[in-house]
Every structure is written in C-alpha cells, then in structure tokens.
C-alpha cells in the first residue's frame, strides 16, 4: 500500500531513472558476485587451456626454449599405441561401471525414498560412506581384497583368481572399485531428484491406476531426465579423467599401472614425467575433444528421449 502511494507521488521520469539505477546496481552486484568465479575460470582454466593449446604445437620440456613442431605432437599421439590402448581402457572403465552403478544407485534411491522404508537416517550415511574414503585409500584396500594368494576375496571363495595379475580380471577389479565408490554419491543425487518430484503428480498417477512399474516408466523417469542427464554427463567427464583407481590398484613399486589396463591419462602423465610438455598438452586436448564428443552425444540422446 505504501509503495503504491509513493509510486503515485514520484514523477514518471524519476521513476524510470530510479528503475534504471536499481537495475544497474543489481547488475554490478551480480557481476561482483560472479567475478570470483570468472576470474578463477580465466586464470586457472581458460588461460592455462589456451597456453596448453599453444604448447601442443611445440617441443617443450617445461623449461628452456620451445621448438615449433606444428601438429607433430598430435600426429605422434595418434600414432602412439599406448594412447589408443589407454583410450580403449578408459572407455571400458566408464561404460562398464557407469551403467550398473547408475541403475544400482537409482534403485537404492527409489527404495530409500519409499515411505514404507524404515531407518532412512541409517541407510543414507551408510551408502554414502565409501565416498568419504579417499580414492587412494580405497584402491589400497581393494588391492589387499583382490590379492592372489592371500587376498580376502580369493580366501573367502577358496579360489586363486588372478584379479591383479591377469588383465582380463584386473579391469573388472577396477570396475568393482569404481562402482563401490560411486554408488553412494549418485544415490544421494537421485534421492534429491526424487524428493523434488511433486507428490501430487505421483498420487494422481496412482488415482489413474498406474502400477509401480508404469509410475516409474511414465512418471518418475521422465521427470528425472534432467537429473539423469546431469549424472551421466558428470560421471562420463569424471570417468574419462580416471587416474587414481587403476594406478594405485595395480601399480608396482610406486609406478603406474601396466599399460594393458592403464587409463589414457597415464599417457599425459608419463609425457609430463618425461619432460615432453608439448605432447602432454596434445594428449590433453585430444582427451578434451573426446570428452566433448561424448557429452554432446549424451545431450542428444537425452534430448531425443525428452521429445519422445
């Protein structure tokens, strides 16, 4: 009421100039609020990324002079057997852990969000617990778990499965570790997504006679597409940068994992270790392109699902 009265008393021109001033100050405030991020993004991400792009066209040890080599670092990387083996391994780790982990995490979130489930306060932190263990520590624990002669798993099963010796098994050991670590995190994300669904919509579907399965397929999943898209894209980006788990699980004498099971980031890491910053930068940019491509594909797939 008082606002309306004051609006009447202020001439029209003054009002618009006040609005403009407020709009301007709001804009400045907004810029000030986002500026720390923008600054950090420019200094810590965009700047180094552009610098890395430049370096990728040079032969450079990280210090001293730089020698122009054109696209040779890209050519050498694409010719490098370990790059392709690493990329194949990384994509395997991503797909092999991503699908069962997401299904499992979503299933758990559905169960825990059910109103009839007791002890929710117990289940939520328990499921999230593996996330609190650092990736190095969990990989070390799993290396004992998967030991050949004296590993926990082989002792329980009474077997001698060479989990960490035979690459065909080793890959699965990494996948199991990734699922174990990741489920709790995505469970929480899905639970948050599920709780944001308006209960009235669910109730309406029940009134309309939808059984649990139909509710899941026709109501819950469509309403969760943005959460699912976020989960799949973020997990894919993280998975393509995978480094710690396979290397700690299978490293020998403080080194890196054997190349047959190594992720692609190892190529970048060993290039840097060998003072080949030009090639390391080229690997980084190639990896960025792969990540961008996979993310774009996921966006397209989810957009098509939404349209349907």
């Amino acid at each position: 009421m008082s606002m309306a009265i004051s609006a009447k008393r202020v001439p029209k021109n003054d009002r618009s100039s006040n609005t403009r001033a407020r709009w301007k100050s709001d804009q400045i405030a907004a810029i000030l609020f986002v500026s720390p991020f923008i600054l950090a993004f420019l200094v810590l991400f965009l700047g180094p990324a552009i610098y890395a792009l430049v370096v990728s066209f040079f032969r450079y040890a990280g210090y001293g002079s730089m020698t122009w080599v054109g696209v040779y670092n890209y050519f050498a990387t694409l010719q490098y057997r370990l790059f392709w083996i690493g990329l194949r391994n990384t994509i395997f780790y991503w797909i092999a852990h991503d699908i069962p982990m997401m299904v499992f995490a979503f299933g758990l979130a559905l169960i825990v969000s059910n109103r009839y489930i007791q002890f929710k306060r117990f289940f939520k932190p328990m499921l999230y617990l593996p996330q609190l263990v650092t990736s190095v520590a969990s990989a070390l624990i799993f290396s004992s778990f998967f030991g050949l002669e004296y590993g926990v798993l082989n002792t329980i099963l009474g077997t001698k499965i060479p989990w960490l010796q035979d690459v065909n098994y080793t890959r699965w050991a990494v996948v199991i570790l990734l699922i174990w670590r990741g489920v709790g995190y995505w469970f929480i994300v899905y639970l948050a997504g599920l709780t944001s669904i308006n209960p009235e919509i669910i109730e309406a579907s029940i009134v309309d006679g939808a059984n649990s399965w139909k509710r899941l397929i026709y109501v819950i999943l469509p309403l969760m597409t943005s959460t699912l898209l976020f989960a799949f894209v973020v997990d894919a980006i993280g998975s393509l940068r995978l480094f710690t788990e396979p290397n700690v699980l299978m490293a020998q004498r403080g080194g890196l994992a054997p190349y047959e099971v190594a992720p692609v980031v190892n190529v970048l890491f060993s290039s840097m270790g060998a003072a080949r910053f030009g090639q390391a930068a080229a690997v980084g940019w190639l990896l960025f392109l792969v990540t961008a491509l996979i993310s774009w594909l996921q966006f397209r797939i989810f957009r098509n699902i939404n349209k349907e």
Binding site: A61, Y63, G64, R81, E149, Q165, R253, P258, S270
Partner: protein, 424 residues
C-alpha cells in the same frame, strides 16, 4: 657479523625421512652445525613428482630451487645437459682417490662430476639359506641362465608349492633394466638420432633371456611390491629375490617384508650371466647452479659421504654402505661388534640387516660394488625402457616374433622420442 648459512635440500617422500639426517648432522658435527643449518624440503611422493617440481621451478626463474637434491643416475643426463646441476669437479676431485670406483661412476656424466655419491645400487641376489640348502642350490655355482633355470627346478623338487623367485606377468621392463647395465657401451641411440634397438644384437639377447625366464615356469606370478609379496615370503612361497628388486637397497626392505624368517635370508652375487651392472646405477646429491651456498652444501655432504665419521654415521642410521674405501673396514668392524643400540627392542634387533642376513652379507655387498656398471642413460631413458618392456612382453607372450617386437619398439621410439639427446 654473519649468521649461520641455511641450506635447503630436496628429495621425495616425507621430510621426516631426512629429519634423522639433520639430527645426525647436529649431533655428529656440532661445530659445523652452528655454521650450516640444513633444511629438508619434500619434492612430492616420488622422484617423478620432484623432477616436475624442479622443472617448473626452473621455468619460473629458479627462485625456489633448493641448494641440492637427490637424483637417481637415470635422471642425471637431462638435468646436467639442461643446466640445473652444477659440475663439482673442483670440490670432489680431492676426494676421488678414496672413492670406490662405483661411486665415481655414478657421480660422473660426460667427463664431469655432477654430485656427491650417496648410494650405489649394486645387484644382489637375496635368498633363503634354508630352502636353498634343502634344494641343493649353491648360489655361487649358479653361473648361467640354464643354471638358474635348473636351480628353479631343483627348488620345485624340494618345495612343490614354492618358486625360486617372483616375476609378475607382463613385467619384462624390470628385468630388461637390470640386464641393460650388464653390457659395455650399450645405448638405445647414438647422438644424431640413429637407433640401435634392431641393429645391436644385445637387445635381442636380452629379449631372449627374459622370454626364457618366463617360459621356464620357475617364477611365481606375484608382483614385486604387491599386496601378495610379503605374505608369499612369510609363507615360504618365494625362495629368493632376483630381478628388479635384486639390489643392494633391498637389505633395508626385506626385513620388513618377511619378519618371520630373520636369520634365514642370505645374500649372494647375481649369476655370472648378468652379474655385472646395477639397478638404475645409484643416487647422488646434486648441487644446483641456483645454489647461493654451494660451498656450504658441499661441506654438509662431504661430512656425511666423504669422511669415515660420516660413513659410520650413515651406516648406523640407515645401513648405507660407505662411498669411500677408507671407511669400509670401520663399517665392517662396527657390524662385527653386533651391539644392540639403546632403545632398540630384541625383536627390532633381530630385523637389523646384520642379524637378519648374517654378518657375511656385508662382504657380499662390498663384492657386489666391484661389479657395478652403469648403463649409458640418455634423457629419454624412462620412455625407452617402457617401450622396450611393452614389446618384450609381446614377444614373451608369442604375440610377436623377435624381429617384429624389436622393430616395433624401435619404430615407436623413433615416433615418440625422436631424439633422446634433445628434450621436449
């Protein structure tokens, strides 16, 4: 009036690793400690982290580069060529008559001394005396590769569940790196970019040796440093350590891995077919060109590594063998005293190398130093050995012929490394 000079040194691992060195410095040379104050700086969890840190510091102008740092022999070429290391001929030459030959080799590159020798990593075959005796294996009589394979079979005869040593699948690189140093003047490539992998038949010989070892079925598939390694030792499934961990420094680690068989492990020289050589040469303390106090840094290092007092201190502290000839007898005499240090429990004392391996292990270690040869490392050694190991694995698993494996390795080196005497 000038105060004490502060010197900084860098190595990998936690700084607490070197706190006992600093304590020993203060305790053994109190007068010098008033003038020179050392400070340890960690370079990360491994040597690779430290070198990345040093490269970054060089790119930033060298402000944060320490006065000296620990360097493996494998890393000397890059940093000597690129000007991080200070040639210390003037400092070290007065002491060279007393230096053991292996120490001189490890500190030398291109005719100059680039550091104070810290440790020589000679080849040593660690074995279970009781198991070898029961199997009728006398290490000194194992001379050829066939002898080694026969010893493996003899051990299997006596202990059907055990292996002569361990060698994880696809681990050819470790053995190759030990074998490389056996040969004189072997190089991956010549300056100018001519590669030798397919033309020097010694590379083919090494591939054959590794393949023969794998195919002989005398090695457990347990990997060095894996979670299975220690239990396999305590369970007597592995009777000896030979290969990439068959080195002098294992004296420090073996008692931690197998606490059950103290007194039953012994040391021998490697079989003659690969007795000469070393595990990555050894390590040095390299004084940097950025050091503001190279004289003080050398003074500190000299006391530890080039005096009898220092050699004895390091032996007592961490079991390091002296780098100078004149201290060898003192160290042997100290070991022969077999006196349990104060504050050491009976259990800990059993694991001290002199008790764990028996006093004669020191003689073997000193002998092994006489057989040390150092491979001619270039700036791309780590890449080269990785590539060589990969293709040797392919040959071992019959996925490639010998020629294919060597040719693929050389092609990959040409594409990926281009010239190992140029960096970047």
């Amino acid at each position: 009036m000038t105060g004490p000079v502060k010197i900084t040194f860098m190595s990998w691992g936690g700084v607490e690793r070197f706190q006992k060195w600093i304590d020993a410095w203060n305790g053994t040379w109190p007068d010098a400690a008033k003038k020179i104050v050392p400070e340890a700086v960690t370079g990360g969890s491994g040597s690779s982290d430290m070198f990345t840190m040093l490269r970054t510091a060089m790119a930033a102008g060298g402000e944060n580069i320490p006065d000296f740092y620990e360097s493996n022999a494998t890393d000397i070429p890059e940093f000597a060529e690129r000007g991080l290391m200070l040639p210390i001929d003037d400092y070290l030459t007065p002491y060279t008559d007393d230096l053991i030959p292996a120490a001189k080799k490890v500190a030398s590159y291109n005719g100059h001394f680039y550091g104070v020798p810290m440790q020589v990593k000679s080849k040593v075959w660690w074995y279970r005396k009781d198991m070898f005796e029961k199997a009728g294996i006398v290490p000194d009589q194992v001379k050829t590769l066939d002898d080694l394979i026969n010893a493996g079979k003899a051990l299997k005869g006596a202990y059907p569940d055990a292996f002569l040593f361990n060698l994880a699948p696809k681990s050819s690189g470790g053995w190759l790196s030990m074998l490389l140093s056996y040969y004189d003047d072997l190089k991956f490539a010549e300056r100018g970019g001519t590669w030798n992998v397919t033309t020097d038949e010694r590379f083919a010989q090494m591939f054959d040796i590794v393949k023969k070892i794998y195919k002989a079925d005398i090695a457990s598939p347990v990997g060095d440093w894996s979670s299975d390694w220690s239990p396999a030792m305590t369970d007597s499934k592995i009777a000896s350590i030979i290969g990439p961990s068959g080195a002098s420094w294992m004296a420090e680690f073996l008692p931690q891995f197998d606490t059950v068989h103290a007194g039953l492990w012994g040391a021998a020289l490697w079989p003659e077919f690969s007795r000469e050589g070393s595990e990555a040469g050894g390590s040095i303390w390299a004084i940097t060109k950025y050091s503001k106090n190279p004289g003080a840094a050398f003074e500190y290092l000299k006391n530890f590594h080039l005096t009898k007092e220092g050699a004895l201190t390091l032996y007592k502290l961490i079991g390091f063998l002296p780098m100078i000839k004149s201290a060898q007898e003192i160290v042997k005499a100290e070991a022969a005293k077999n006196e349990r240090p104060e504050g050491t429990t009976e259990e800990q004392w059993k694991l001290a190398p002199v008790n764990y391996f028996g006093l004669d292990y020191l003689d073997v270690l000193f002998q092994a130093q006489d057989h040390v040869k150092i491979f001619q490392y270039d700036m791309a050694f780590n890449n080269e050995i990785n590539i060589l190991g990969q293709y040797c694995n392919e040959y071992v698993e019959d996925k490639m012929t010998l020629l294919e494996a060597l040719r693929s390795a050389e092609d990959e080196m040409k594409t990926q490394i281009v010239d190992p005497y140029k960096l970047g």
